[in-house]
């Protein structure tokens, strides 16, 4: 590790009554990868936003190369060489990838040259093995691809201090591995890297030092060598009881078929074929994992099942009934429950409060509604029940859910979905971006549901998760189902091969 390049001393930042950071001190050395860990809402992003000039701290000081600096605007931070990949992407959807990268660069040429920009992106993405199409518009990209654009942006600009807020949340393990290799290269070149993450293994493998935030304060700082899962877990979630989920046992899955997809085809947003001839069945009480690199049709698959995207051909059969032509509402009533990738803007209404979000799906059912009038007292009752049952932390059920932490938002979303007593749950990356405590709780809810007979489709990039939770796993690559396996009859290796496009013809019907 090199010399001390940046020091934050006693940073305090409050939002109204919320204390997001309290007396946080952090040292950063050139050449190191520094990991920030902590629960959702611990104040990690806030601390980094203070560093990049987006928030102004209420107290404390920042020293850059020994000199006290006051970072008043992002511009200043960028000029000082502090670059950040934000948790919520800062991309312009209507611009192309190349333009987005160029927007962030130091290049000040007046005229744009699309071709040249695209070539630069091509070079850059090849160099760091982050493949994206420079000419594509950002709104056409999957979340994973967008994340890659964000990273390319930063690399292209060439910052001294790189901050990545949960970069691996949307990457596959392989991609994450690649990315850390890149980051290591940058660190070796004398740069300092801060990575926020919820994944302990990754942090222990790749970071030099680890700082854990809790409740806005520094809970623990350690060298990576000194870190153990126990120590980190304790620092992150405290003394709270924390059970590791045990891998699912084989068997016990009913033969009753809940969902049947027959030769399903669908298009993506660009109008290209995204799903090709998908045929599969999901049974009662089963957790069916969908593995694959993001952007290979997962989103489209989930949306076609939920009815948000039309099928071009083929059929979706739910409990023996063809629902291909049914509306979204019709499918909801038939027991399809959907936990979307974009939980805050699709699964929830961020500006509405807790209890208004509780009734989102069933606002017009007998449960909450009489003669067209919504009974908010019932909603309040349900809200309180959710809070109690799932230990959801919030500022009160009358505050907008946008103020809740990501983990608690997801808990609310899942609690609501489970409360509709669905026969099928389609969960897309349900624990992405969640801290280990929250992720564990979410997984436990899904497991519990499947034990109660609900069929679950779990779309995930983490093979570990799939192997622990699922009964069977199907692999999507380029919109095709490469094969379906019982998790007990396969291994990481085989699934990994299938993910990269090797077809395997072994039938795996339970």
């Amino acid at each position: 590790m090199g010399e001390l390049i940046l020091e934050m001393k006693n940073i305090t930042k409050t939002f109204g009554s919320v204390v997001a950071n309290k007396d946080v001190s952090l040292q950063l050395y050139s050449g190191e990868i520094h990991a920030l860990l902590g629960e959702n809402g611990a104040g990690k992003s806030t601390l980094m936003n203070v560093l990049t000039g987006i928030y102004r701290p209420d107290g404390g000081a920042v020293y850059y190369k020994g000199k006290k600096v006051s970072i008043r605007s992002p511009k200043q931070a960028v000029n000082m060489g502090i670059g950040m990949v934000h948790q919520h992407f800062r991309l312009i959807p209507t611009l192309s990838v190349a333009e987005n990268v160029y927007l962030y660069s130091e290049d000040r040429k007046f005229m744009l040259n699309q071709k040249k920009m695209e070539n630069v992106i091509l070079e850059c993405s090849e160099k760091f093995n982050l493949s994206v199409d420079g000419a594509a518009k950002v709104w056409q990209l999957s979340v994973g691809e967008q994340q890659r654009v964000e990273i390319i942006k930063l690399l292209y600009r060439g910052a001294e201090i790189l901050i990545l807020d949960e970069p691996s949340a949307v990457l596959t393990p392989q991609e994450a591995e690649e990315m850390f290799k890149t980051l290591r290269k940058m660190a070796d070149a004398g740069k300092a890297v801060i990575v926020i993450s919820h994944k302990m293994n990754e942090v222990m493998n790749h970071a030099n030092r680890i700082t854990v935030l809790k409740g806005g304060m520094v809970e623990d700082t350690m060298l990576a060598e000194d870190a153990t899962v126990e120590r980190l877990t304790k620092a992150v979630v405290g003394d709270r009881e924390f059970e590791e989920i045990l891998p699912k046992e084989d068997g016990g899955v009913s033969k009753e078929c809940v969902l049947e997809l027959n030769a399903l085809e669908a298009l993506n947003d660009k109008g290209l074929a995204a799903l090709k001839n998908i045929t599969m069945q999901v049974h009662k009480g089963e957790i069916f994992g969908i593995a694959g690199v993001a952007g290979n049709g997962q989103r489209e698959l989930s949306e076609v099942i939920a009815g948000l995207r039309p099928a071009v051909s083929g059929s979706v059969v739910l409990k023996g009934r063809d629902v291909t032509k049914d509306s979204i509402k019709g499918r909801i009533q038939n027991g399809i429950s959907f936990i979307p990738e974009d939980r805050l803007h699709m699964g929830l209404v961020p500006g509405l409060n807790f209890k208004e979000n509780v009734i989102l799906k069933e606002f017009d059912t007998k449960k909450y509604c009489r003669h067209g009038m919504i009974d908010y007292s019932v909603a309040e009752h349900a809200a309180n029940r959710f809070v109690a049952e799932h230990e959801i932390k919030n500022g009160g059920i009358d505050l907008p859910v946008s103020l809740m932490s990501g983990g608690n938002q997801q808990k609310l979303l899942i609690a609501r979905e489970v409360d509709t007593k669905p026969s099928l749950i389609v969960a897309v990356y349900p624990v992405r971006g969640l801290d280990i405590g929250a992720a564990d709780a979410i997984r436990e809810i899904l497991m519990e549901e499947s034990r109660n007979g609900t069929a679950v489709i779990l779309i995930s990039e983490e093979l570990e998760e799939i192997f622990k939770m699922c009964d069977r796993v199907g692999v999507l690559c380029n919109g095709e189902l490469m094969g379906v396996r019982k998790v007990h009859e396969t291994d990481f290796n085989e699934i990994g091969k299938m993910m990269s496009g090797e077809r395997s013809e072994v039938a795996a019907h339970a």
Binding site: Y55, S73, V78, R90, I92, T94, Y102, F110, M111, L112
Partner: protein, 310 residues
């Protein structure tokens, strides 16, 4: 149709189009930056009156144009202060601008009402080009403000779609937070474009009082500002489409009068309604998402930017 009639229709349509295009293109820039001004009419009137006042008193067109631009810029500054810095609601701010501008222009214009300035942007035939049949007399025998518009259109297209500042502008109306974290000054940029848009709008006013006609009267733009606002959306925030829209509107309303005199049995109101109906139909066909097109409205339009808001 005789060629003289075609020439006349084209040149009248061009003259009309230019008088709204300054405002529309200015507003395209402002809206691409995320700030909408519904009160273009008020700014236009202020431009029209200030230009005319200078023309009457100083007898100097260049100075008049300069004052018009300056007045537009000052109004833009006020509008930017209210909507960007104070983050006020842009709809009401626009309507306030409309009322304020209409009132103030009427008041300061009282003394030149009915006074002939005898000083206007006259048509100048471009040697050579104006000899081309039909195109020549209609397109190349116009006043300076029209010729300036011939340059502004391609320049604005290139600026928006081919230059770096143009790209920044496109980003500004989509997601200012992104620009902010990339080190651009969102507030300064918005101020700049709002002021620019407002100055252009004021020139539109000058087109009416100093080129299209040559006089001042209260509220003389009679709804042009609203047409400009509509044009921006009609054009999907694209200057070239705005040109198309303005010409279409101008041409149809001229042709409407022509056929009004020929075909009987329909009330004149029918022909007067034609340009509006045509706008509706064209809007549906050009912007309707029959083929799943994405909406082109800047995503952050009308949303004040505040760094700590989330």
């Amino acid at each position: 149709m005789s060629s003289a009639l075609i020439v006349s229709i084209i040149s009248t349509a061009i003259l009309y189009a230019v008088s709204v295009l300054y405002a529309a293109i200015g507003e395209i820039f402002a809206e691409k930056a995320g700030v909408m001004n519904l009160g273009l009419e008020g700014v236009m009137l202020m431009g029209a009156v200030s230009g005319y006042l200078v023309a009457v008193h100083m007898k100097n067109l260049a100075l008049a144009l300069f004052v018009v631009i300056a007045v537009g810029a000052v109004l833009g500054l006020v509008f930017a202060f209210v909507t960007v810095t104070l983050q006020a609601d842009q709809t009401v701010a626009g309507m306030a601008m409309l009322t304020f501008g209409t009132g103030l222009s009427g008041f300061i214009g009282k003394e030149v009402c009915g006074v002939n300035a005898n000083l206007a942007f006259e048509s100048i035939a471009i040697p050579g080009l104006s000899k081309i049949p039909i195109i020549g007399p209609s397109v190349f025998n116009q006043n300076l403000l029209v010729y300036a518009m011939y340059i502004i259109i391609p320049v604005s297209m290139i600026y928006i779609y081919k230059t770096r500042p143009g790209m920044i502008l496109r980003a500004l109306g989509e997601n200012p937070a992104t620009l902010d974290s990339a080190g651009y000054n969102v507030f300064a940029l918005r101020y700049g474009y709002v002021i620019f848009g407002s100055a252009m709008t004021a020139v539109s006013g000058a087109c009416v009082s100093l080129a299209y006609t040559n006089f001042w009267s209260d509220n003389m733009t009679s709804g042009k500002g609203w047409i400009a606002v509509a044009l921006v959306v009609f054009a999907s925030w694209n200057p070239l489409l705005a040109v198309f829209g303005a010409l279409l509107f101008g041409a149809i309303s001229v042709i409407g009068v022509d056929i009004q005199m020929v075909f009987s049995a329909l009330p004149s109101e029918f022909y007067s309604a034609l340009p509006y109906v045509a706008t509706i139909v064209a809007l549906i066909f050009t912007t309707g998402n029959f083929r799943k097109k994405r909406s082109t409205a800047p995503a952050a339009l009308c949303i004040p930017y505040n760094r700590e808001e989330r």
